[in-house]
């Protein structure tokens, strides 16, 4: 088989897997998984981060322990736990896509929780204290005073988080999820004589995607920095 013939035969398989005759796969699945993973990890990270700084011990301690354990373990370990133990908890078989999605949400949620926590704790204490002394309860003070300031600078780093999530979806490979790395390996098994070229194309695909997105983040950051008039926080006494 000639190289161009291979490209001609398999490019669609590489991009969308067996779709429309079968389940979605390939690069499209990578993107869908990364987007969904990030979208669900954001609220999870926000809630976990809030729980990490909440004044209630019964909430703070278990969440702190959870975040600690997840951040000290490889994502692959979380994927394995989800893959082997979700079925025994829920009682029926979990598909590879849902397994990977759950692992991503747990893992990235814990990472984002630390970013949210750092954002909140980076604000002067006076913000929370003055809101509380104005009579706002803790949650309301958090929602209306602290969080808007803490999350203000998170938008450009969200795009970077998306790039990280795209890289992480490649681990779906190990549980047989038909994302783009897995598809590349399948093509390699079928064609057999172009391993170097196939894996170079795989690398180049990720590169174009992730590099493009991180340039976008850079551009967004500069644009936001130029547009937002500097609003100095009142300095702490």
């Amino acid at each position: 088989m000639r190289f161009l013939e291979m490209v001609d035969t398999y490019w669609l398989f590489f991009l969308v897997g067996q779709y429309p005759d079968g389940p979605l796969g390939g690069l499209a699945l990578t993107l869908v998984l990364a987007a969904l993973g990030l979208l669900l990890a954001l609220p999870a990270g926000l809630l976990l981060g809030l729980a990490r700084v909440s004044p209630w011990r019964w909430l703070r301690w278990p969440v702190t322990a959870f975040v600690f354990v997840v951040r000290g373990t490889p994502l692959l370990m979380v994927v394995f736990w989800a893959y082997f133990f979700l079925p025994s908890i829920t009682g029926h078989k979990t598909g590879q896509f849902s397994t990977m999605l759950i692992a991503l949400v747990l893992f990235d949620g814990a990472q984002l929780a630390e970013i949210v926590r750092a954002g909140i704790q980076g604000l002067p204490r006076g913000q929370m204290e003055s809101a509380r002394s104005l009579g706002l309860p803790w949650l309301a003070a958090m929602r209306r005073v602290v969080l808007p300031q803490a999350l203000q600078h998170m938008l450009p780093s969200l795009v970077n988080q998306f790039v990280t999530t795209i890289r992480e979806t490649s681990l779906g490979y190990i549980i047989g999820l038909a994302e783009v790395s897995f598809i590349a390996t399948q093509i390699n098994t079928l064609v057999f004589i172009y391993p170097t070229q196939i894996y170079l194309i795989l690398g180049l695909t990720y590169f174009v995607l992730c590099f493009g997105l991180s340039r976008l983040a850079f551009w967004l950051e500069r644009r936001l920095a130029r547009r937002a008039a500097p609003t100095p926080l009142p300095s702490t006494p």
């Binding site: 951040r71 373990t73 490889p74 394995f80 490649s170 391993p195 170097t196 894996y199 170079l200 795989l202």
Partner: protein, 231 residues
């Protein structure tokens, strides 16, 4: 789910497999870390060198590593790259644990790129006059970097380098994909052979966690011994 059999982890075949896996994981970390650090310093210097082609090469290296998942790098170095070698070298490689070599190469290059960025921002944290003063005293670019700037820069770069070391430790697990018999691989093998998944995964998780905690503790100790100074 069957009950948790703790004795499996203390002795016997399962214990031996998991312990061998942990040893190999630690070896991967121990070999990769100094190599990646060295590569990181070299690439950081290249990215700041007074030669434009060198700067461009450093930039291209860092971006091409960081924007591709480690798993794709490993697949390339294991399945793709050996095809480029001459026949003799390739056969030698396949006879000498090609999986471990591919894992070492990809981990070193990948983390070398991340560490280069940390070292580079450490260097940029050192005021420019330090380099200028070194040059004014008659030192060349490289000696001024080595004797004046780098000692200060590396110290400033310790916290991000520690978190890269943690990521490196966790990412040694990805070597499973190309069949390196490290901890994750052995845990999966125990699962397949004995169905003792709960014990095997608990052992693996506890080991990853313990080493991560150890690295964090060392970093905290270093931070207390050498508190950050304003430059």
């Amino acid at each position: 789910m069957p009950t948790f059999d703790f004795s499996l982890l203390l002795s016997g075949t399962v214990h031996d497999m998991l312990a061998a896996g942990l040893r190999l994981s630690l070896t991967l970390l121990g070999v990769t870390l100094p190599l990646a650090l060295l590569l990181g310093v070299l690439v950081a210097l290249a990215r700041l060198a007074p030669l434009a082609p060198l700067r461009a090469a450093g930039w291209l290296f860092v971006e091409s590593q960081r924007n591709v998942p480690l798993l794709a790098h490993m697949l390339f170095w294991y399945f793709g790259a050996p095809e480029l070698l001459p026949d003799g070298a390739r056969e030698w490689l396949y006879a000498h644990n090609a999986e471990a070599v591919a894992a070492l190469v990809s981990l070193t290059l990948y983390y070398g790129a991340f560490m280069a960025e940390d070292v580079r921002s450490g260097i940029r944290a050192v005021p420019g006059v330090q380099l200028e003063a070194g040059r004014a005293l008659g030192l060349g670019f490289l000696p001024a970097m080595r004797l004046v700037v780098l000692p200060q820069a590396l110290r400033a770069a310790v916290p991000p380098l520690v978190s890269q070391t943690l990521n490196l430790w966790k990412d040694t697990s990805i070597a499973t994909v190309i069949g390196v018999a490290e901890l994750m691989y052995q845990a999966a093998k125990v699962e397949a052979a004995t169905f003792r998944s709960f014990e095997a995964f608990t052992f693996a998780t506890a080991s990853y966690l313990a080493v991560s905690l150890l690295i964090t503790a060392l970093a905290a100790w270093h931070h207390r011994r050498h508190p950050p100074r304003a430059l």
